[in-house]
């Protein structure tokens, strides 16, 4: 089981490395969206500090969305997805591997960049730490839940827009607790409650989502 996960993750990572433009595009999207906000609302440090958690989290959400459509689309187009669906292992396990690989490619760069961008918003070091931790815990849930939407809209007309319509409402709890954790730190309350709820969501998202995703993939292959 672990060897299968490793094989799926390894393959997807290798593919992503051969196509670095996609990763770079998502990362720059994140940076630009975050940088646009101070330009839009003005440079007052107090206001920026209050906005920072929400802005960074919403930008992370959108940047994750950007890479979701390709999660299964390439495999679908070249027939690899059929082979994965016909593998003697449960498809949900393969999906889990792909979700982890997606997180490593799309989520981890955001986690790494977040503290740097947080500095632009004049966040304290405590808040920066919590921001990074909240993204570290929360982004796997984004990949997991997003996979359901990506599988449902596979091979569908106007899939990209539809994907955001389906997935963004489901992202709301992650957004609330992720941004809430940073918010709580900024305002002097402890972030623990938010972080543990976020952790529960991430566990649920990563381990529950592969099943509906696998079912949706089988429907898409029919």
């Amino acid at each position: 089981m672990l060897s299968l996960l490793r094989a799926v993750i390894g393959r997807d990572l290798r593919l992503a490395m051969r196509r670095q433009a996609d990763i770079v595009a998502a990362v720059f999207f994140f940076i630009i969206v975050v940088s646009l906000f101070p330009l839009g609302v003005g440079p007052e440090p107090e206001q920026l500090r209050r906005m920072a958690p929400g802005v960074l989290w919403v930008a992370a959400l959108l940047a994750t969305m950007l890479s979701l459509p390709r999660l299964f689309a390439d495999d679908h187009r070249d027939g690899t997805l059929e082979q994965l669906a016909l593998a003697p292992q449960p498809l949900a396990l393969i999906v889990l591997g792909k979700v982890i690989a997606h997180w490593l490619v799309a989520g981890v760069p955001l986690v790494v960049l977040a503290p740097v961008l947080g500095v632009q918003f004049d966040l304290s070091s405590d808040a920066l730490t919590v921001l990074t931790v909240s993204l570290l815990i929360g982004t796997p849930a984004l990949s997991g839940i997003g996979a359901i939407g990506a599988a449902l809209t596979l091979g569908v007309r106007g899939g990209g827009v539809l994907l955001s319509l389906l997935v963004l409402p489901l992202y709301i709890p992650v957004l609330i607790f992720g941004a809430g954790a940073v918010d709580a730190t900024v305002s002097g309350l402890g972030p623990q409650a938010h972080l543990s709820l976020l952790g529960a969501l991430a566990l649920g998202g990563v381990f529950f989502a592969p099943w509906p995703t696998a079912a949706a993939l089988r429907v898409a292959l029919e």
Binding site: G10, R14, G79, T80, L86, A87, P88, Q89
Partner: protein, 218 residues
């Protein structure tokens, strides 16, 4: 071993075929024939349990394939329209990663031998997007060289191949049949397979088609 009874296929609003039944035992091969759009690919996908049949049943070793699930899939090798080749990877990486995904680790030596056999020696380190259609198809077919699963389902395996490669693939299928394996394939090219009993099945020869054809002839 593989039995299909009264299969029916509906695509959109059209009924492509109905009442398709056959039985295939070890060492036998089924040639699936029919015009474009007669449902050959759909039938193959049904046999893989990718598409559910509207009605009818498919059994493998006496049990319905829907119930067998993973047990059935572990004995199945499917090669579809698409090559399932990653353009970014080299033929060697493609072979090894698909073997890893199937949990049947393949030694580098064996993979190289297989690639040499299908005529890709010297190109094993070139990303597949630089290969021609025929070469990509060869890279996909290299999987068959070491394939030991009992049931091969091949959708147009000879397409885009030159005569030498066609003969090679026919030889691989023949060897597979000789080992007691089963094969189902569609093709428009009549290719002699060196061993095994061959059955044929034509799709889409129902009355409606005859009527249309006779109408066209007038």
């Amino acid at each position: 071993m593989l039995e299909a009874s009264n299969l029916e296929c509906v695509r959109g609003e059209r009924r492509l075929f109905a009442d398709v039944s056959f039985r295939l035992d070890g060492g036998e091969m089924l040639y699936l024939q029919g015009s474009n759009g007669s449902g050959k690919t759909s039938l193959l996908r049904m046999l893989c349990a990718l598409t559910p049949a509207v009605s009818g049943e498919i059994r493998w070793r006496g049990k319905p394939i829907g119930k067998l699930g993973e047990e059935f899939r572990s004995e199945l090798c499917y090669l579809g329209h698409h090559n399932a080749i990653k353009e970014e990877l080299t033929p060697l990486e493609n072979m090894r990663s698909s073997a890893d995904l199937a949990q049947e680790p393949l030694a580098e030596e064996a993979a190289l031998d297989a690639l040499q056999l299908v005529g890709l020696r010297g190109r094993e380190d070139l990303a597949c997007r630089y290969l021609s259609q025929g070469q990509k198809r060869r890279a996909a077919l290299a999987r068959l060289v070491n394939e030991k699963r009992a049931l091969w389902i091949l959708d147009e395996p000879y397409v885009a191949l030159d005569p030498a490669a066609v003969e090679l693939v026919a030889g691989l299928i023949g060897a597979h049949l000789q080992r007691g394996g089963l094969a189902v394939l569609t093709t428009h090219q009549a290719v002699a397979v060196p061993a095994g009993a061959i059955r044929e099945l034509r799709l889409g020869d129902d009355d409606a088609n005859d009527e249309r054809r006779s109408a066209e002839r007038c």
